[in-house]
Assembly symmetry: C2
Homo-oligomer: 295 residues x 2
């Protein structure tokens, strides 16, 4: 898939720049470990897909924006896996960064990845410098305070939070940033693209909740049952597996409907359907229906 190649190339370029002469070897190795091999790269793929739907007149910039968003996602995984949070031993089927390199390097790797994301974005804006400020603001808002993924993670430290606000910040914010950034990188207004990313992000978080209850941990590449174990808000624990799957289907439909009319809308809708099937296979809903009838 061509888009995936573009994204991997942009990520390799970014990480190679970070590993340049004079870099401390362990931290350099930890960055590579955190970024490669990747997961589904769903956020950067979404960014590039929206850019393409919007004409993609500066592919270097949309690639840079996509890579920046993925680097920020990787940073959040490294820090979320730390002993003080999930204390996850594995991630993407191999040792988490703190298990492989120690806690200190894991803290620094997350920090370095955040900085690298903004470096990558700035570097990519060489041809369209006037697009940098809005892109920077959009990407940063998806990660930072008051409503980005860092804020979402911080809600886990509060005694109570509305599930929807938590999930919008924890996952939706970076998805919304990905779609908005794809539009901005192509010189198109971001606002109409936000709702699409927002719905998709929420759907993705619900899928994550579902898989935390119902997936095979080996296939998933990380342990399951973490939401209950860590007392985290979850749609699957709040509404049950059946309710969660229903909620997921509704969010996916809402996301597809939120795609603005454009030349690439048909292709994008197909991408959403494919991705939703990958996240929560139809077979899972069917199994659940069968289990219900049997009960």
């Amino acid at each position: 898939m061509e888009s995936l190649n573009r994204i991997e190339l942009a990520l390799v370029e970014a990480v190679v720049a970070a590993e340049a002469r004079g870099a401390p070897p362990k931290l350099a190795a930890a960055l590579r470990h955190a970024v490669f091999p990747g997961g589904a790269r769903i956020r950067p793929l979404l960014c590039v897909a929206v850019a393409q739907a919007c004409g993609d007149d500066d592919p270097a910039l949309s690639d840079g924006a996509a890579a920046a968003i993925e680097l920020l996602h990787c940073a959040s995984l490294v820090h979320d896996d730390l002993p003080c949070f999930d204390d996850a031993a594995t991630r993407r089927g191999k040792a988490s960064v703190h298990r492989a390199f120690g806690e200190r390097i894991a803290v620094l790797a997350g920090d370095a990845l955040i900085v690298l994301a903004f470096q990558t974005l700035g570097h990519a804006a060489a041809r369209s410098p006037q697009r940098l400020a809005p892109l920077l603001a959009t990407v940063a808002a998806g990660v930072g305070m008051p409503l980005g993924i860092v804020a979402g993670q911080a809600w886990e430290c509060e005694p109570r939070v509305a599930l929807r606000d938590y999930q919008r910040a924890k996952t939706g914010a970076l998805f919304a940033a990905a779609t908005a950034a794809g539009a901005l990188a192509s010189g198109v207004e971001a606002a109409p693209w936000r709702a699409f990313g927002d719905c998709l992000g929420e759907a993705y978080q619900v899928a994550d909740d579902i898989r935390d209850v119902a997936a095979d941990p080996v296939q998933l590449g990380k342990p399951i049952g973490q939401d209950v174990a860590l007392g985290r808000p979850s749609v699957a624990t709040e509404q049950g597996l059946g309710g969660a799957i229903l909620h997921f289907d509704r969010l996916v439909a809402r996301a597809a409907a939120a795609i603005p009319e454009c030349r690439g809308a048909f292709r994008l809708r197909a991408l959403v359907r494919m991705e939703s099937e990958r996240l929560v296979p139809q077979a899972m809903s069917n199994d659940l229906a069968v289990a219900r009838i049997a009960a």
Copy 2:
């Protein structure tokens, strides 16, 4: 002092934006705790001083750059104080962020401050968007890989490192970024201003090493003796207190000599002398000389 007011105002604006509606309360409080009240604000003062020496034709941008640099410095303090690094109980005379808010919020506060720094920079570039990309690259290089302060901190996890490389990354890099950013924010070429920041940063790190051996911990606002306790490379332990003070004096002289000729050079040199006296009082050198004669 007018420059300090400008900087505090820019920092307040940045932190208030981060605390906006929807922000998780503990993380919001932790950001404020990490940024206010500040230390000497030496890096942002340096940035603004260089901007003024270069004409300061866009004060909003130089303020934004200065605030960004201070936010990144605050982020590094929060993460350096974590249990896995220094496990510092106090900072700037009060509880460190992880002691006041817990380790999870401290990790997230550092992350949020890094993001906020780049947000602040992007926001400040509204009047001079063409200056944003070089400023972003300069500020990010001072913090990230391969040679910024995160790299400097990572050298503490390596079995060996040249003391000078360690200190240049750990402290010099953000000072060099501060002087270079001051120039760039005023539309002036950054290169001639780098050496000045570099020398000053190295001097500052040596002063830190000296104070870790010789200062009053109450006055310093943090515990002393940490370099030896944590096995960190230090000029004071490598060359002795006398050698370290001599080295400091040489670096300050070199920094003053590195100031490019400009309208504000005289004022800047005075600032360097004042700051060096604050860092390592002449009385300390005199005491040492007396102690030597007595020995």
